[in-house]
Amino acid sequence: MDEGPEDGLVEAAQRGGREAFAELVRRHERRIYGLVYRMSGDRSDADDLAQEVFLTAWRAIGSFRRGSSFYTWLYRIAVNVSLTFLKKKGREKNRAAFDERLAVPATGPGAASGPEENSSRNEIKARVDEAVASLPTPFRASFALVVGEGMSHRDAARVLGCSENTVSWRMHKARKLLRARLRPLLEEVRS
């Protein structure tokens, strides 16, 4: 990641420079979106979460310590925003599940999957994304940072506030869980 010129942009943003902050957004928006998408498993939620990440960063930019890594700081915000969202969503999901027991189940073709599932490649991708979204959140966060964003274990550990060994162990477990869940699909891809 290009850290050199970013220091100047961060400094300008800390003085209230909107243009500098907009440039920081352009540099990181795709990666942040990718991360929050993997964490939430939903494109619409990911869009809202990415907005929330940058808003939070703007509100807190004055407290960012110069000399530390801006992208690590930004990714930490993204992980925390995602975890908060998932907690809230979990509570709402539990409530919805309770309500659904009382409701008449809806049937028919209305609940069809998204258009991306029409092609085989996109279908595989969607199923993998769905499996990733079903991982326990610590495993999911590690997987999203390391596989999704190509981070080293060391950088992922800095973002998540844990040791490299923890990231390594979580990655191993995440792969094991995904492999167990996607075994037929992975066999299909091989053939």
Partner: protein, 201 residues
Amino acid sequence: MRCRTAEKRLSDALDGALGPRKRARLEAHLRTCPACRATRDALARLGEAAGPSAERSDEDWAGFERRLEARLDREPAGRRAYGAPFPARRRLAWAVAGFVLLAAVAALWFAARRPQPDLTAWLADPDALGPVLLEAEADPEVGRAVESEIRASLEALSPSPDADAAALAAADPLFWEGLSDEELEALVVALEQESGVGGPK
């Protein structure tokens, strides 16, 4: 190398987190183990399928930036600290803990400063009993304490009830009347033997 270890190291190897020596040992194991080779291939396919997925058009990104700009217009750049989740709740917890600690320290301080009457002074000096009794009349708590001291002192002075049980029984006229002639004679013999003096005939 066992297959379980190999599987763990495969994960590290895919992330580029395996040192050269461990990598060499893993590769040696893979050359001889078809099951672990199959695992490696499956994990590699999984990594490919789970790669970057933020495929959006430039228009999507332009829309994203416009919406963000509109929201940022309403937000001044702040100095709000970031990194501690739920800071308000944590501040409240510290405030409550501080208040409880202060209250406990204050209670101990007041308890230590309150003068305690010497409830045993009257034992050494009978003239000291007067002021203690006056104080006991004024304060029920002191009164109860004095009463318990007096009871304890009286119990210490009086003989144990078990020690004189036999004497008390002997003093009871009904005790003697209840004894048969044979029992009385046996007692007399026992007393004569014990004291060496002849009893009443």
